[in-house]
């Protein structure tokens, strides 16, 4: 009888202790509501990540605001104007920088200093850092560029595959060798003459030693002869016909289709496009090497990405919950999920083993992972990037793509206009 009483007393004590623990736990983690904005819904962000966060953070009541990408980006401006935006969401890095300047984004530098070991991440973690040291967001994922080559084309032409030691001069020479014409009609081009910023004009100006803006991001560098030289090389390739032109690409189904079908041998391909290649052109035999080296021997790997931000207008508790979510997103577990998706590169170094051992084409994924470690650069993004990038693109279209004006004229016009935008927003 006594023994039974002792067991009963012990059990009661255990229950009391457990209750205290649970109550104590509840006091430190009080319930909080967190609104997460997901542009592109679960097509862009794995549902698995959100489900895991909800399961492991029961005190955070998560509300998902999802919408197709285009709808989300037009909706979010209205939501911000009406103060009804989510507590945490992501958009293009350049847009986030603009939000930071306008006071919409919370500076994450103190959070990062408090909770993250930055040595565990690639430099891309700080894609949204300003020259003044503010960090307006952390990456949803990074999309670097590498030199993709169609193996079949190279083998048929008896030309050795590109290597990591290539320079842009090697690329141009090989592109010329691989170009085939029948009369005036091009049958095959050496390289895809893309004209957008990431895989078009930006890598060309960087390799020539130029840049769009200076390091402080307050001065236009389009008056730098090296920048002009880079643009001219791209124009020359298109004009002389060893780079594809816009009409050819369009008529043959776009850059990827042209590359996959062997109508062009090489392409500066963003990492995310490997998913499209796998889905649309599974039979194409292709691989990648690192971006060619610039004239100064350095390697520049343009990278773009989407960036998570925390609303500066969220409540203190919601901000902490949002940061809890971002910490979770940057954890080993979630970064492995991001890596496995193949649509973007994670920023945590530990997840790169998952990327490199994926076993899918392109097999040499180190061209991306080691490429950004060696020479990852943003597209000179700053708070006015959207505005000046448009001005540059207008003139690039006129000169490089359509040849309506000379590259020198275009560069002079770009310099004048970009500098005006930068000065206006000082």
């Amino acid at each position: 009888m006594k023994k039974r009483q002792s067991i009963f007393v012990l059990l009661v004590a255990l229950v009391l202790v457990m209750s205290l623990v649970v109550v104590g736990h509840g006091q430190t983690k009080k319930p909080v509501k967190l609104k997460i904005g997901l542009p592109g819904s679960y097509d862009v962000t794995s549902k698995d990540i959100i489900d895991k966060f909800i399961a492991t953070h029961p005190h955070i009541n998560v509300e998902i605001q999802e919408a197709p990408w285009g709808d989300f980006t037009s909706k979010i401006a209205t939501q911000i104007a009406g103060n009804t935006m989510p507590d945490v969401w992501f958009q293009e890095n350049a847009v986030i920088l603009g939000y930071g300047q306008r006071g919409v984004a919370e500076d994450l530098a103190p959070y990062i200093a408090r909770d993250l070991n930055v040595d565990e991440y690639i430099d891309g973690l700080f894609s949204a850092r300003t020259p003044e040291g503010k960090v307006w967001g952390v990456p949803h994922g990074i999309n670097p560029v590498a030199l993709a080559y169609n193996k079949t084309v190279f083998e048929e032409a008896g030309v050795p595959f590109p290597t990591d030691d290539w320079t842009y001069a090697d690329l141009i020479e090989t592109a010329k060798k691989l170009t085939v014409k029948e009369g005036d009609e091009p049958k095959r081009f050496g390289f895809i003459g893309a004209y957008a910023i990431t895989n078009g004009w930006f890598p060309w100006i960087k390799q020539a030693g130029g840049s769009a803006l200076d390091e402080t991001k307050t001065k236009s560098m389009f008056d730098d002869p090296r920048t002009v030289a880079g643009l001219k090389q791209l124009r020359q390739g298109i004009e002389e016909g060893y780079f594809t032109n816009v009409d050819f690409n369009k008529a043959h189904g776009g850059d990827l289709a042209v590359f996959a079908s062997g109508k062009a041998a090489m392409h500066f391909m963003q990492y995310s496009l490997q998913v499209n290649m796998q889905n649309q052109f599974p039979d194409t035999d292709w691989d990648v090497v690192k971006m060619p080296k610039a004239v100064n021997g350095e390697r520049y790997v343009p990278m773009v990405g989407n960036t998570w931000l925390i609303s500066s207008r969220a409540s203190k508790d919601a901000k902490e919950a949002a940061w809890e979510f971002l910490r979770f997103y940057l954890s080993d577990e979630v970064q492995d999920i991001v890596a496995a998706s193949g649509s973007t590169l994670p920023v945590k170094k530990s997840a790169y083993a998952v990327v490199e051992n994926a076993g899918t084409k392109p097999l040499n994924k180190k061209a991306y992972t080691e490429g950004i470690a060696e020479g990852g650069v943003t597209l000179d993004e700053n708070a006015t990037w959207n505005e000046w990038r448009l001005l540059v693109q207008q003139q690039v279209n006129e000169s490089v793509v359509h040849g309506k004006i000379s590259v020198e004229e275009a560069a002079a016009e770009i310099h004048k206009r970009v500098q005006a935008v930068l000065d206006e927003n000082k």
């Binding site: 306008r102 207008q394 279209n397």
Partner: protein, 294 residues
């Protein structure tokens, strides 16, 4: 009776609220923010006439006004004339399969600009487009319709696409007017020996002038508000549409929703409104000289 009068106001309340919230307030607010620095995210800051002066100083505004004026000058007369001609032909009693023809001409109106833009940009393609291929059959050199060195060629090409898209709408309005032309008037004219051309110019046209006038007013307004046709053909504002072929609505859209510069965007919108108002009043001034309401 007196007690029931308030019901009238109550019944009109939903409409009145709708007008105030969705029409009057945006008009007044856009006028206000044209005098402010406003980025959607922070409260508007009053800066007086700065936005208006800056917009008027910019070369881009004057280029866009030049482009949209030429666009309207090409689009409005061609569309009105073609719509009138087709409506007249479709109104002929002897014509067979009228419904099929009406459907054929109206089809572009219901085609989304997204699809129409892609198709036309293909047709205009410099190297592989069907138009240049066709011209090539006659030994004519290919023309770079959308990226020509001369902005006039580009604006004309776009205006013609807009004619293709909008003609059906105008045709329906004019056809409705022509169907109201008394049959006995036409028959007596025929008995008197009036030719088809004389019937068209001396009987049909004068009777449908109110419709023609309405078509011209609506076409002019829609021409100055051109947006979709440019976006559809060039594939989007972020692709870097050349300043030489920009129109005001593109700059308004870009400034407001891409660059969050609501002040300059609103000032441009109001300037465009004043231009449209002036042209509409100009058209109205000449209305009595050629439009017959009886």
């Amino acid at each position: 009776m007196h007690n029931q009068r308030h019901w009238g106001y109550i019944f009109t309340l939903p409409f009145v609220i709708n007008v105030i919230v969705f029409l009057l307030f945006p008009i007044v607010f856009s006028a206000y923010i044209s005098f402010t620095q406003y980025d959607l995210f922070n409260p508007p800051k009053w800066i007086g006439l700065t936005n208006w002066i800056n917009v008027l100083k910019k070369q881009e505004f004057w280029l866009s006004m030049r482009n949209v004026s030429v666009f309207a000058l090409i689009f409005v007369p061609i569309q009105t004339a073609l719509a009138f001609l087709i409506a007249f032909l479709l109104n002929q009693a002897a014509l067979r399969a009228k419904s099929l023809f009406r459907l054929f001409y109206f089809l572009p109106v219901v085609t989304p600009w997204l699809a129409a833009g892609v198709v036309w940009s293909w047709m205009f393609n410099y190297q592989y487009g069907v138009i240049n291929w066709f011209l090539g059959l006659f030994g004519i050199n290919p023309v770079n319709w959308l990226y020509h060195k001369s902005w006039v060629v580009v604006i004309t090409s776009i205006a013609l696409v807009n004619v293709w898209k909008g003609m059906g709408q105008s045709m329906v309005i004019l056809l409705a007017g022509m169907q109201n032309v008394p049959q006995e008037v036409l028959e007596s004219a025929q008995i008197d020996g009036a030719s088809g051309w004389k019937q068209l110019t001396h009987i049909v046209f004068p009777i449908v002038t109110p419709m023609v006038y309405m078509v011209m007013i609506l076409s002019t307004i829609s021409a100055f508000q051109a947006f979709d046709v440019f976006l559809g053909l060039f594939g989007g504002i972020t692709t870097g549409i050349s300043e030489q072929v920009m129109v005001p609505n593109l700059t308004i859209y870009r400034d407001s929703f891409l660059l969050f510069k609501m002040g300059p965007a609103s000032a441009t919108a109001w300037l465009l409104f004043f231009v449209i108002l002036a042209i509409t009043l100009f058209q109205r001034y000449f209305e009595k000289r050629w439009v017959h309401y009886e």
